[in-house]
Each structure stands twice: as structure tokens, then as C-alpha cells.
């Protein structure tokens, strides 16, 4: 064995090593890298962040005194500037919900097309690649692209100009919540397509045939059969999109206006310009709490759907 391995340029394997892997005696140790990874890169930072959120901010840093003031500030605000964080959080969730709805509406027909209407496997593969390709470009690049498209003298504007159309609505498009939603919809639609496609692809065609066989037409079959059976995929994609888009800070910063600040921008500024790490940590944990509730709810829903 060693000779053969040496011949093809592989490191020689001692019989003992070979034995250990195949026997699976200490197989638990195979999990160590994963657990270690999660602990070092997720567990520890989260724990430190949580400690941070319970400390007292000072003018130049952090005093290690236990306090719940940071959370009180997030939920209740202060007398000076009122309550700003919870409304921002709600706005973030609203933007996230809008992105999720738009992405679902866009993604479903495409996933349906891919799964049922394209019978040529080569065409399907090509379309599938087209869906994935945007994921290879950097997020920042794609967000910037929308700045170019939506700007007053941007792509959309000049096309409308060429057509001799009034483009006054464009005046307010860039640097608005609409722009934020458009940009994030573009970014999250591919994920949505992939999760819905994964479910539709596994749907046995005989179910659809059975529905037609029982006298139910195309549209009704789609509504009473395909839509309910695709819900697990829609829920998975929606959870993903909702979680990521309501916690986004790049799109609002690039294409959003002054009033479109989202909760992640607040966190960002507390850790940056304002230099109030304890408050930033507290906001982050409140956001994390909301997302955790969302994931728990969707997991429940998904379980019910699969029954």
C-alpha cells in the first residue's frame, strides 16, 4: 500500500492511521474542528459583546460596572433625544418585510419556470447559472450598481430622457426607502429562487397530474396544490431574506436617504463615530433577539407544513 502510494506521489499511510479512521473508534474528535470554529468565531465574540452590553459607557471608553442602563436606553430612549432605537428597529423590520415580499413575488415564478416549464436540461442549467452568477459579484459592487442605475443622471434617467418621458419621479428615487428596497430585493432574490426551486424540484409531477385528473384546471391546481406544497421553501427563503435584510447596513448607507437609517447603521455608528460600545452591543442584542424569535417562528411553521 505504502509503495503504491509513494508511486503516485501520496504521503505514505501507516497501517495504524488507516485502521483508526476506518474503525471510527474516536470519531467524536472529528467534530472538534467544527465545534472549535463555532466557539472561537461565534461563541466567544457573542459572549464578549454580551458582557460589553452590560457595562457602563464613559466619555473615553468603558467602565466595568454592571448595569442595565444600555438596554433601558434602547427600549425607552432618553429625555434628550426621545426614543429613537425602537422606531428604527421597527423600520428595519418593515424594510425587511418589504424586501421579503418583493423577493418572493419575483422568485416564485422564476423557480416555477425552472422546475416545471423548462424541459430541456441544458437550458435549465443555463438559467440556473444565470441565477447564481450575481452571487459571485461583491455585494458592495451590486449596491453601487443601483446607485448608477437609479441616480438622476443615471442609466434609468437617461433612458427615460431618450424616450422623451417625464422622469420627475426619479428626483426622489435614489436616496429613498424605495431604492433601499429595490437594491436589497435584487441582492436577496437569488437566495429565494434557490430555496423555492429546491422544494418545487422535489414535488412529484404525479401530484399535479392527479389534481388535473380529478378535474381541477391549471390555475386552481397551482393555487391549491403547488403553492401550499412549496411553503416550506418559501418560509426558509423568507426567514433568510428577512433576517439578513432587516440587519443590513450597506444598502441604506449607499442608496438610502437621511431618514432611511436602519438599526444596523445605529450599531455601526455606536461602534464608530459615537464610540459607545456598550450601547451598540445592547442594540445588537435586541436585534439578535428579534431575529431569533423570527427564526423560531419560521421553524415552527416549517415543521407544521411538513407534517
Amino acid at each position: 500500500m505504502s509503495d503504491a502510494a509513494a508511486q503516485v506521489g501520496l504521503p505514505p499511510v501507516t497501517p495504524e492511521e488507516d485502521h483508526k479512521v476506518s474503525e471510527g473508534k474516536g470519531r467524536a474528535f472529528l467534530g472538534i474542528p467544527v465545534v472549535g470554529w463555532m466557539l472561537i468565531f461565534f461563541g466567544v465574540p457573542y459572549f464578549l459583546l454580551f458582557l460589553q452590553s452590560l457595562w457602563e459607557p464613559t466619555a473615553f471608553g468603558v467602565a466595568h460596572n454592571w448595569t442595565l442602563e444600555n438596554y433601558k436606553l434602547v427600549f425607552l430612549g432618553d429625555t434628550l433625544s426621545g426614543n429613537i432605537y425602537i422606531p428604527t428597529l421597527l423600520r428595519s423590520l418593515k424594510v425587511g418585510a418589504m424586501v421579503t415580499i418583493c423577493a418572493t413575488l419575483l422568485a416564485f415564478p422564476i423557480a416555477y419556470l425552472l422546475a416545471f416549464k423548462i424541459s430541456n436540461s441544458r437550458t435549465r442549467l443555463m438559467l440556473y447559472v444565470l441565477v447564481i452568477v450575481p452571487l459571485w459579484a461583491s455585494y458592495l459592487l451590486r449596491a453601487y450598481a443601483w446607485k448608477v442605475i437609479l441616480g438622476q443622471n443615471g442609466l434609468l434617467g437617461s433612458v427615460l430622457d431618450q424616450l422623451g418621458l417625464e422622469n420627475t419621479f426619479l428626483n426622489n428615487l435614489l436616496y429613498s426607502q424605495t431604492a433601499v428596497v429595490i437594491t436589497m430585493t435584487h441582492i436577496f432574490t437569488p437566495f429565494m429562487i434557490l430555496t423555492i426551486y429546491a422544494v418545487l424540484e422535489r414535488l412529484p409531477p404525479s401530484l399535479i397530474e392527479a389534481s388535473k385528473d380529478l378535474g381541477v384546471g391549471r390555475m386552481k391546481t397551482f393555487l391549491t396544490l403547488v403553492v401550499p406544497l412549496s411553503l416550506p421553501g418559501v418560509i426558509a427563503g423568507a426567514t433568510f431574506t428577512m433576517g439578513l435584510s432587516s440587519g443590513d447596513f450597506v444598502a441604506p448607507q449607499l442608496v438610502g436617504g437621511k431618514n432611511d437609517v436602519m438599526i444596523a447603521n445605529q450599531v455601526y455608528s455606536q461602534f464608530g463615530a459615537t464610540n459607545n460600545w456598550p450601547l451598540g452591543s445592547a442594540i445588537a442584542f435586541v436585534l439578535l433577539g428579534f431575529v431569533a424569535i423570527l427564526v423560531a417562528l419560521s421553524t415552527q411553521a416549517e415543521k407544521r407544513e411538513q407534517l
Binding site: 392527479a210 388535473k212 378535474g215
Partner: protein, 372 residues
């Protein structure tokens, strides 16, 4: 309903007699997938109330035929009529037929009652009427108490009954069954064969049943259509198919048989005498156009071979195994190997010299050329 019309069994398949529409008629139907000919120039006439089985190996075109009738495939050529109406422009959801699918295709997100009531509800039948008809149908299927459960909580046999109920509750003119027992284990399959027969008797609907299992076809059908390579090989009653197969393919496919080769020595009004080398002369009936000296294939059922002690050099027992109630012996005679089924206690040990008697009116003689 069944009796009045099943007298037409075995009537010519092409062309409908005036004033009487068959449940299903196929005229010259051809279906191609690319270069593959799935069904070619098929003529078929299924009478009202019949239990007809399309039987053949996989790829013979039987499932395609069923899907053409159901409206899931469109023919390249030919006409399909159901109860006299041309179906060429009618999609599956407008045809008066219902299907029991191979893997049942029950809707996983609906309860059993909702599955069975699915078609009725969408046809605009009221909630209370639907509930009543669903309950009656589930009673007929002997699964009255599973209505609230989800399909996947049921056993295979129960799922099978739900699929049947869901199709029959629509009161179709024709029920199409696509290898519905394929997913069940042997014992349950046996049981369901009798169940299907009972249900067919009780509802009186025309059944068109697709299977590759000749035993299943034999047990249940009024009429069997044996298919191979997109053609009909034979269309007759189960007994006739077994006793008087039209082609060597049918003889081989239906039941166990020995096919041995020989030369015709005498031909007399549909009865051929064949010299089969070491086995001697064997007489059998034939529908082929044969003359003296033709090479032929002779089909001999294992049950028609009698085995006696014989002299050395004639035939030798190679193997002898117990198969259920009888013993199957493999016997070599010259170049030919023959399987004989004999009663327990009258078998011979491997290596024994035996003599074979072959004499039965079930012996069939076919021209040697393929497709004759």
C-alpha cells in the same frame, strides 16, 4: 351492466358497430418520443364495464397507452374516443376518466377525507354532499375510520384504497390503474387483487389496468391485451391467452413455458407434428402458415411434461427443487433443457436417466422467424 355487454369480448377491435359506443376506443394511435416509438398504430376497443388489462414488459407501451387515454400525453396520430366522444381537444381535467397512479400520488398536505373529496369540492359539489359521498366511498373501500389522518400516516394498502376512493368518488366512466399494486408486498398484493375485483363488481365502472405481472392480469381481468414494442401481441380472455397464445412472445411471457426448437414433419389443418430431436415427435396446434420442413419453436408448459424412468443416453435430470406445492425438475435432453413440474413424490434425483412424455392440447407451434 357488466353482463349485458361483456358478451362482446373478443369482438374485432377496429371499427365500432353502429349505434353502440364502446367505453374507450383507440383508432390507429401512434405516440413517439423523439426517435423512440412508444405506441404504433394501436387499435383498441374497450367495452363498457369490462376489466381490461394491458400486460407487457417495461417499455412495451402499456403505460403510454394509459396516459394517452388519461390525457397526460397527446398522440402524434390517431383518434381516442371515450364513450363515443373524440378526446383530441380535451385536456386531462375535462375527461370523464380518473386515474389511480403508481405511487398513489396522494396530496401530502391534505387529510384523507380532503384527498378523497378534492375533485368533488373543486367541481362545486356542496360541503355536505361531498362529505356524504366521501364517507360512502370510504365505506366501500373498507377504510371508514381514517378520514382525519394524513396520507403518510397510513399503511401502503390503506393508501392504495384512498387513491381508489379518490378516483372512484368522481364516478368516472373509466378508471385507469397504472400498476397500482407495484409498491405493495406480495401478500398484500394478493389480497388487493381480490379487493379490486370486488370493487369492480360493485361499482360496475370500466377498469383499464396496466401491469407487467402476468399472474395479476390472470387473476383479475375479463380480457388481457398483451403488448410488446408498442404493438398488441394478443387480445383475448385470460384462459385463451394461456391455452392458445398467438405468438412465441405471449407463450413465453404468460406463465412458465419451455420453448424448444424442431422441424415440421407433418401439417394437418392447424395441427403440426414436429421432430424435436432427442425429445422425439411432438404434436401441437398452430395459427402460423407452416409447411413440412419448416424450422419452428414449440411451447410446452412445464405441467404438460410427464417424466418416467428411462434408459441411459435419452435425458438426464440436472436439478430438482421444491417450488411450493410441486417439484420443478430441470432435465437435459440433447441440446435442449426442459423444465417439468411434477407432484411431490414422483420426482427423480439429479443424475437419473429419464424418459419424457409430452402430449397435451396446450402445446403450441410457432414459425421460427422472429415476429411471424
Amino acid at each position: 351492466m357488466i353482463n349485458a355487454e361483456s358478451g362482446l369480448t373478443g369482438a374485432p377491435t377496429a371499427g365500432a358497430p353502429a349505434g353502440h359506443a364502446a367505453a374507450v376506443e383507440l383508432d390507429n394511435v401512434t405516440k413517439r418520443y423523439g426517435d423512440v416509438m412508444a405506441v404504433e398504430d394501436l387499435d383498441l376497443r374497450v367495452e363498457d364495464g369490462q376489466f381490461l388489462t394491458l400486460l407487457g414488459p417495461s417499455g412495451c407501451g402499456k403505460t403510454t397507452t394509459l396516459r394517452l387515454i388519461g390525457g397526460f400525453e397527446a398522440p402524434n396520430r390517431g383518434e381516442i374516443r371515450i364513450a363515443g366522444d373524440d378526446m383530441s381537444s380535451r385536456p386531462a381535467y375535462k375527461r370523464p376518466v380518473n386515474t389511480v397512479f403508481q405511487q398513489y400520488a396522494l396530496f401530502p398536505h391534505l387529510s384523507v377525507s380532503q384527498n378523497v373529496g378534492y375533485g368533488l369540492r373543486h367541481a362545486g359539489v356542496s360541503r355536505s354532499d361531498t362529505a356524504q359521498r366521501v364517507a360512502a366511498m370510504m365505506e366501500l373501500m373498507q377504510i371508514p375510520d381514517v378520514g382525519e389522518r394524513r396520507p403518510r400516516e397510513l399503511s401502503g394498502g390503506q393508501q392504495q384504497r384512498v387513491a381508489l376512493a379518490r378516483a372512484l368518488v368522481m364516478e368516472p366512466k373509466v378508471l385507469l390503474l397504472d400498476e397500482p399494486l407495484g409498491a405493495l408486498d406480495y401478500k398484500l398484493r394478493k389480497e388487493m387483487q381480490f379487493e379490486l375485483k370486488r370493487i369492480h363488481r360493485e361499482v360496475g365502472v370500466t377498469f383499464i389496468y396496466v401491469t407487467h405481472d402476468q399472474e395479476e392480469a390472470m387473476t383479475m381481468s375479463d380480457r388481457i391485451v398483451v403488448m410488446s414494442n408498442g404493438h398488441i401481441e394478443q387480445d383475448a380472455s385470460p384462459a385463451e391467452i394461456f391455452d392458445r397464445p398467438l405468438t412465441a412472445f405471449v407463450a413465453d411471457f404468460i406463465g412458465d413455458t419451455n420453448i424448444v426448437h424442431g422441424t415440421v414433419t407433418r401439417i394437418d389443418n392447424g395441427h403440426a407434428t414436429v421432430d424435436v430431436g432427442p425429445l422425439g415427435e411432438i404434436g401441437g396446434s398452430t395459427d402460423d402458415d407452416l409447411k413440412s420442413g419448416d424450422r419452428v419453436r414449440v411451447s410446452i408448459r412445464p405441467t404438460d411434461v410427464r417424466v418416467e424412468a428411462g434408459a441411459a443416453g435419452e435425458a438426464v435430470v440436472q436439478d430438482s427443487v421444491l417450488v411450493g406445492g410441486h417439484i420443478a425438475m430441470k432435465i437435459a435432453s440433447g441440446d435442449e433443457t426442459v423444465v417439468a413440474h411434477v407432484a411431490r413424490g414422483s420426482s427423480y434425483e439429479p443424475g437419473a436417466n429419464v424418459h419424457l412424455h409430452v402430449d397435451s392440447d396446450r402445446i403450441r407451434v410457432f414459425a421460427a422467424a422472429e415476429g411471424a
